[in-house]
């Protein structure tokens, strides 16, 4: 299916539209190596776009390629199932599994428990591992969601306002971690944020919707 | 004005309905007939439910109401009688002998359908007859106890059991089945359906209808459905 991982090829090649209610949302862009920031007003369709790339919302038309792999192509009737896309998704709401402990939430998509400790420590959630999601504060839940997406060993990351409702210190730590992932593993990464400073720091490329 | 409310054993359904039709044709208000198991009806009467006439499928429940002093004095009478028969599916042989081991072995060849021999009247008569004829010990383990005599009949009709013990009135109404044998008089206590007016009766036609049922005309109507004189 042409094109290796990472390297010189494009990370995200997206050209999709989907109907949402009366409106049609969508975007066309190509992003190079590293991380890309998605910037745009509320309701512009950022979340919808992420869902289309993750395979959770079927575009009406267009194509999605990530690292050269075709994930969706309306014309060629290709639609890779979400579980086979290997995306690490942090949703806008935490979406933690309420019947699983924090530990089992974190490990849900992980091949092994390896890495759990390090990520939990960095995200400052190590003390929460045996708690139930409903007892977490807003920021705690968000950090668990980030950890869960990273531990899934993804081929690319889709982060919908991952740092919202985090205080400075933890935001900084999380941002450092995302930067480290970006630089060390060179995973393609698409980040939604409303914070220009964050956008500046995280995104090699900024896409405005 | 409404006709009297008559509580009657379920097996009286056709015969009593025909009698009620005849009564209506004579210009009376049609009696209201409620058919259910004698036990259920007797309990309703015992609880004080207001009805006019009660027709039981056996003496036992009528005795029970009599003990509770719920019957209008002097109104208890035997309405009709019935016979007990063995029905068989169309392929089964008629009963070679109506006695002893031979009878037992033939009946015990497959499941034997009958109403519960410890509870339902027809089952109790059947048990008494089989005991008297010396076939009970052989047959007992093969008995399937149906909820009512009609349910026993249905089992034979469906081929679930080759033979069943039911009333003659039921057997006659089933075109698919043959009567393989009739239990002799005296092999079981006489099968009679007693009738009585209840103390709670308020309908002034109740007594007239009761008398009509035990009159020759009433007997003749019910005789058409296979009931015998008591």
């Amino acid at each position: 299916m042409g094109g290796g991982r990472g390297g010189a090829s494009m990370s995200f090649e997206v050209d999709v539209t989907a109907r949402r209610g009366d409106a049609v949302v969508g975007a066309t862009f190509q992003a190079g190596e590293g991380s890309t920031v998605l910037f745009g007003p509320s309701g512009a369709g950022k979340t919808s776009l992420l869902m289309m790339i993750a395979g959770l919302l079927r575009p009406d038309t267009g194509r999605v390629r990530v690292s050269g792999q075709v994930l969706f192509d309306a014309a060629r009737r290709i639609n890779v199932r979400p579980e086979d896309r290997r995306a690490g998704v942090v949703f806008q709401e935490p979406r933690l599994f309420p019947h699983l402990s924090v530990r089992r939430n974190l490990l849900y998509g992980a091949a092994s428990a390896e890495g759990l400790e390090e990520i939990a420590t960095r995200l400052d959630i190590a003390h929460l591992l045996d708690r139930w999601p409903r007892t977490l504060s807003g920021g705690e839940a968000r950090r668990v969601a980030i950890g869960r997406a990273l531990l899934r060993d993804p081929d690319f990351l889709l982060l919908d306002e991952p740092l919202a409702s985090l205080d400075r210190a933890r935001r900084e730590e999380a941002m450092l971690m995302i930067e480290r992932v970006r630089d060390e593993t060179r995973l393609p990464m698409l980040i939604v944020t409303h914070d220009p400073e964050e956008a500046e720091r995280l995104g090699r490329q900024i896409i405005r919707m | 004005q409404r006709g009297p409310l008559v509580l009657a054993a379920a097996s009286m359904q056709e015969a009593l309905s025909a009698a009620a039709d005849a009564w209506e044709r004579k210009g009376h208000a049609r009696p209201v007939l409620s058919f259910a198991a004698s036990s259920a009806l007797a309990r309703q009467v015992a609880a004080g439910a207001p009805a006019d006439l009660f027709i039981s499928a056996d003496q036992e429940w009528m005795d029970d109401l009599a003990r509770r002093d719920l019957l209008a004095p002097g109104t208890r009478a035997n309405l009709v009688g019935n016979r007990l028969v063995v029905v068989a599916g169309p392929e089964e042989r008629s009963l070679a002998k109506l006695r002893g081991t031979a009878l037992g072995q033939q009946l015990a060849a497959g499941p034997l359908a009958m109403a519960d021999p410890d509870a339902v009247p027809s089952g109790r008569y059947g048990k008494a007859a089989l005991e008297r004829l010396g076939a009970w010990p052989i047959v007992a383990p093969r008995i399937v106890r149906a909820e009512s005599v009609r349910a026993a009949l249905a089992l034979v009709e469906r081929g679930a059991a080759p033979y069943g013990i039911v009333y003659l009135t039921d057997a006659r109404l089933s075109p698919k089945l043959r009567i393989a044998g009739i239990f002799p008089h005296g092999s079981h206590p006489p099968i009679v359906y007693p009738i009585a007016r209840l103390k709670s009766a308020r309908n002034d036609k109740a007594e007239m209808f009761r008398k009509f049922l035990i009159s020759a005309q009433g007997q003749q109507i019910m005789g058409r459905y296979g009931f015998t004189a008591p």
Partner: protein, 228 residues
């Protein structure tokens, strides 16, 4: 407890247990289809599932009898394939009980499945879980209150099942005579009330134990559910 009584109780538990356990997966599959599926004839399936509730039990028993009689369509198949008949057997009683419990179980499970937030299933999919794993690890556990309720309802209903059972498999002591059938027999005779009370008391005790067990299980589970 007399031997006879012990047999009746054991048989009731066996039949109720087998009927409930056997129906649970079927009920879950049907509930799933009705909650999530989109197919023509869905309303018809829904209606079919409800039938044993609407039609009087004796009729259900009678239809079972027609179907499983030696010459009936299912009876013939069972005979030909497995060489067995369920007429007058405890297995037949379990089939009757299962049939009657089915609509109750489907409804309970369906309500719970409809209550599962599908966004959680989406999250599981992005984490690499295929439809089956998602089902087993997310949907099923989140629908557990309904499954427990279904098991409870099914067991209780089986324990009380009378009309379809006696019509279908009759009242064969030691084989199909469950508590309700014994109670019915006792009710048929004047003075049988004492036996009725005793047997009804046993039914109630059994179901209370089942109820408490399911409540406690559900409570343990409940604490975890229900907040994202």
């Amino acid at each position: 407890m007399t031997d006879e009584l012990e047999t009746i109780v054991r048989l009731s538990l066996l039949i109720g247990g087998v009927a409930t356990a056997g129906t649970l997966p079927v009920a879950f599959a049907l509930a799933w289809l009705l909650a999530r599926g989109r197919f023509p004839g869905k309303l018809l399936l829904d209606g079919l599932v409800h039938l044993p509730l609407v039609v009087p039990p004796v009729v259900t028993g009678w239809l079972l009898l027609i179907a499983f009689a030696p010459a009936g369509p299912l009876g013939m198949l069972l005979e030909r394939w497995f060489g067995v008949s369920i007429l007058f057997r405890w297995t037949g009683a379990a089939v009757a009980a299962a049939m009657m419990a089915l609509p109750l179980m489907v409804r309970a499970i369906r309500l719970s499945i409809e209550g599962v937030d599908q966004r959680l299933e989406q999250a599981a999919r992005t984490l690499g879980a295929g439809p089956w794993r998602t089902f087993a690890t997310i949907t099923l556990p989140l629908a557990l209150p309904g499954v427990l309720a279904a098991a409870m309802l099914g067991f209780a209903r089986s324990l009380g099942e009378f009309g379809a059972t006696i019509t279908f498999v009759s009242n064969v002591p030691g084989e199909t005579q469950t508590l309700p059938l014994a109670i019915y027999a006792a009710l048929q005779r004047p003075g049988g009330e004492a036996t009725v009370w005793k047997l009804a008391g046993i039914s109630i005790a059994i179901s209370l134990i089942a109820l408490i067990a399911s409540e406690l299980l559900g409570r343990r589970q409940g604490r975890r559910l229900h907040v994202l």
